[in-house]
């Protein structure tokens, strides 16, 4: 192989590698294939916090180190909510939303995406506190606690590849629809 031919091969090889680098670096991809439109349910709710307290027996207290002998122990949790969604009259979602965290004592987070064809759809949504606090427990619901029942009955028109967001407006204490046109 003469130096000239080698040089030619060298340049061609280098150019081929660069072309591959470019192709790998900017290759077209459709992340959401075959998806018409989406109704996204996403909000954070401050639920009713329930405290179950009980007094320790003298035996239990005696077994504890002196500095840990607290007479009363309390455990808190957030009451769950049931989320029910009907799309165009058909049941789409029915599930219980628990408080976040291992002890379920953190706020509730709703996040669900419902795929549907573009067009006009009727959404009926109920977000209802589930269960009642035990009689002997104490409850604390702050000033900004989410109401025990939230409902939404609306009709939305969604374009192709568009997302409609259903979220909770804390100031108005109601579920609202956003489509990105007003942020």
């Amino acid at each position: 192989m003469t130096p000239a031919v080698r040089g030619l091969f060298g340049v061609a090889g280098g150019a081929a590698v660069l072309a591959l680098l470019r192709l790998g670096s900017l290759a077209p991809y459709t992340a959401e294939r075959d998806v018409g439109a989406i109704v996204r349910l996403a909000w954070r709710a401050r639920g009713e916090r329930v405290r179950d307290c009980r007094r320790r027996t003298p035996d239990e207290l005696a077994k504890l180190p002196v500095h840990m002998r607290q007479a009363e122990v309390c455990e808190g949790r957030i009451l769950p909510y049931r989320l029910v969604v009907e799309l165009d009259g058909a049941a789409a979602v029915s599930r219980l939303i628990h408080g976040a965290g291992a002890r379920e004592d953190r706020p509730l987070y709703v996040f669900q995406e419902l795929v549907m064809p573009p067009g006009t759809h009727r959404i009926v949504l109920r977000f209802t506190r589930e269960g009642t606090p035990p009689a002997d427990s104490t409850t604390t619901s702050g000033a900004l606690a989410t109401p025990a029942r939230l409902t939404l009955d609306t009709t939305v028109t969604i374009g192709s590849r568009r997302v409609v967001l259903v979220t909770y407006d804390e100031a108005r204490e109601q579920l609202v629809v956003r489509d990105g046109s007003v942020r």
């Binding site: 670096s25 909000w43 954070r44 706020p107 996040f111 590849r161 568009r162 967001l165 979220t167 990105g180």
Partner: protein
């Protein structure tokens, strides 16, 4: 043969074929695959320089808009961004080839475990760094990467609030998100340089940089690519629009289709399994107990304390320590000591030791003389025959054969392990010439074998080929595993040159003990 061995052999053949092609076009000095590890470091530096510029013009308050502005600056911003992007992609390719080479060459276990694991951590950090970089742009790709990552991380019960909630459109993304991204993107590279130091910490004289010409070629090529084929602006992220068709960087976003197809739990499972497999490579690829090559050992009676093996060891496995009985025996005050935990059994120390007092069992200078004596007895080279001394890792694969084009082949485990006394022995036994075929220097499985071999043969480095050996009858050529044609051509040329010399005569009886004593005396003299 196990599946793993079969895969390794197949990959080795593939690499040998590619190496041979690249050597032919660029020459072994500039074969980029031989410098894949060093090229990653060069690319880090390119990323650092371009990244510093981008850092000053990027704004976390308007991430996408600032990237658009940068890209529209035709004379600086556009190509700075392009070089930054393409260098990060090239770094992944180079790191991939580097890891593959180490794996198929069996350089991933024992004392090299630290380098393998730190290399994997480095690669993982590069991916995370790249991920934060793409999210910073906050275009469609950044949004998809952020959402896919958040979906996976939301499975961990450590976040007070699901990360995915940030990308629902409920509220505008806080500047803190982009600040954290930017912080991670800038802080991680600092960690990368520390990891690079750990990665090479067990190497003597680590080859951190490729030849200067290759560095400039690479940088120039990336610049040309960025200028003539710039990185395009993709549509901005929008939580209210489903990401359509957009350009993705597959060197960093390769996992996205999988993450979207399987549950976050399955993604964790796949990722952890892949990481565990990668981290287990040193234990998977480690030969079975009886088949591991032995570490070097020092015969302290022969050690003259010259420090040559200590200087030549590419893995800093040899230390010079005080000899406890130096005053009684009259021997040197220092004696070499090998740390078996650091020794990879390359045998380079055996080639460095004039008195032949160090090396792995069976490959010390003395053991080599015994082997070459048997070789002479069996094959009787003479009458001007050329003997081909071939490294069994490269050398066109001729070491596996008994002869090549009629010339007898004397295989060695590494060119750097070859003691120069073996060459002398072959010539004194009547061989017309000795053609030594070693791997190209940057392809040596033991890092510095060819470098020390050449210095010992022709530059009087200990243990040097003695003056009385006719250098016209000794030739060193470099050939990779896939370059058999090069070996044959070199053999033909060398045969022609040897034929022009006077006929070699064989010594009737070469006293091995005498040869060793002479070597010892020579070493003592040189102290």
């Amino acid at each position: 043969m196990s599946l793993l061995e079969g895969l390794k052999r197949g990959a080795r053949r593939g690499l040998a074929w590619i190496d041979a092609g690249l050597n032919r076009v660029y020459g072994w000095r500039y074969n980029p695959l031989y410098h894949s590890g060093a090229l990653v470091l060069v690319l880090f530096l390119v990323l650092l320089v371009t990244g510093v510029y981008l850092l000053f013009v990027y704004h976390i308050s308007e991430p996408y808009e600032s990237v658009v502005r940068i890209t529209r600056q035709a004379w600086l911003g556009r190509w700075m961004r392009g070089v930054h992007r393409y260098a990060s992609d090239a770094a992944v390719i180079a790191a991939g080839f580097h890891a593959l080479r180490m794996l198929v060459q069996g350089r991933s276990w024992g004392p090299r475990t630290l380098a393998w694991i730190s290399g994997l951590v480095l690669l993982g950090s590069v991916f995370v760094c790249g991920w934060t970089g793409f999210v910073m742009v906050w275009d469609v790709q950044g949004q998809v990467l952020a959402q896919a990552g958040a979906r996976i991380f939301d499975l961990l019960p450590i976040f007070g609030e699901p990360i995915s909630r940030a990308f629902t459109g409920e509220r505008a993304l806080p500047g803190a998100f982009f600040f954290l991204n930017l912080f991670a993107h800038v802080a991680l590279p600092i960690g990368l340089f520390i990891l690079v130091w750990v990665h090479v910490s067990r190497l003597a004289r680590p080859g951190l940089f490729p030849p200067r010409r290759l560095t400039w070629w690479l940088t120039g090529a990336l610049l040309a690519l960025a200028v003539f084929w710039p990185v395009a602006i993709t549509p901005p992220a929008d939580p209210f629009t489903l990401p359509g068709r957009a350009a993705f960087d597959w060197f960093y976003a390769f996992w996205v289709p999988l993450a979207r197809a399987v549950s976050p739990g399955a993604m964790w499972g796949i990722s952890l399994a892949a990481a565990a497999l990668g981290l287990a490579v040193p234990w998977i690829t480690r030969p079975r107990l009886g088949r591991r090559p032995p570490a070097s050992a020092v015969d302290e009676r022969l050690c003259t304390g010259c420090e040559q093996c200590y200087l030549d060891c590419p893995y800093e496995a040899i230390a010079m320590v005080d000899r406890p009985d130096a005053s009684q025996t009259g021997k040197s005050t220092l004696v070499a000591r090998v740390d078996p935990a650091l020794c990879v059994s390359c045998g380079l120390c055996a080639g460095s030791c004039a008195p032949m007092g160090v090396g792995p069992a069976g490959r010390t200078g003395r053991a080599q003389l015994t082997v070459v004596r048997d070789f002479i007895a069996q094959h009787h080279p003479g009458g001007g025959d050329v003997v081909v001394v071939a490294c069994d890792r490269g050398a066109g694969g001729v070491a596996a054969a008994t002869e090549v084009d009629g010339a007898r082949v004397y295989p060695v485990s590494c060119g750097g392990n070859l003691h120069t006394s073996v060459v002398e022995f072959l010539l004194r036994a009547g061989a017309g010439g000795v053609l030594i075929v070693s791997c190209p220097p940057r392809d040596c499985w033991n890092r510095e074998g060819p470098k020390w071999l050449e210095a010992r043969l022709f530059q009087e480095r200990e243990a040097e080929l003695r003056d009385r050996v006719d250098r016209r009858r000794v030739r060193l050529v470099y050939a990779a595993a896939g370059e058999r044609a090069l070996v044959r051509a070199a053999l033909t040329a060398f045969r022609t040159d040897v034929a022009a010399l006077e006929t070699a005569t064989a010594e009737s009886a070469i006293d091995l003990e005498r040869l060793c004593e002479l070597a010892e005396a020579g070493a003592e003299e040189s102290r």
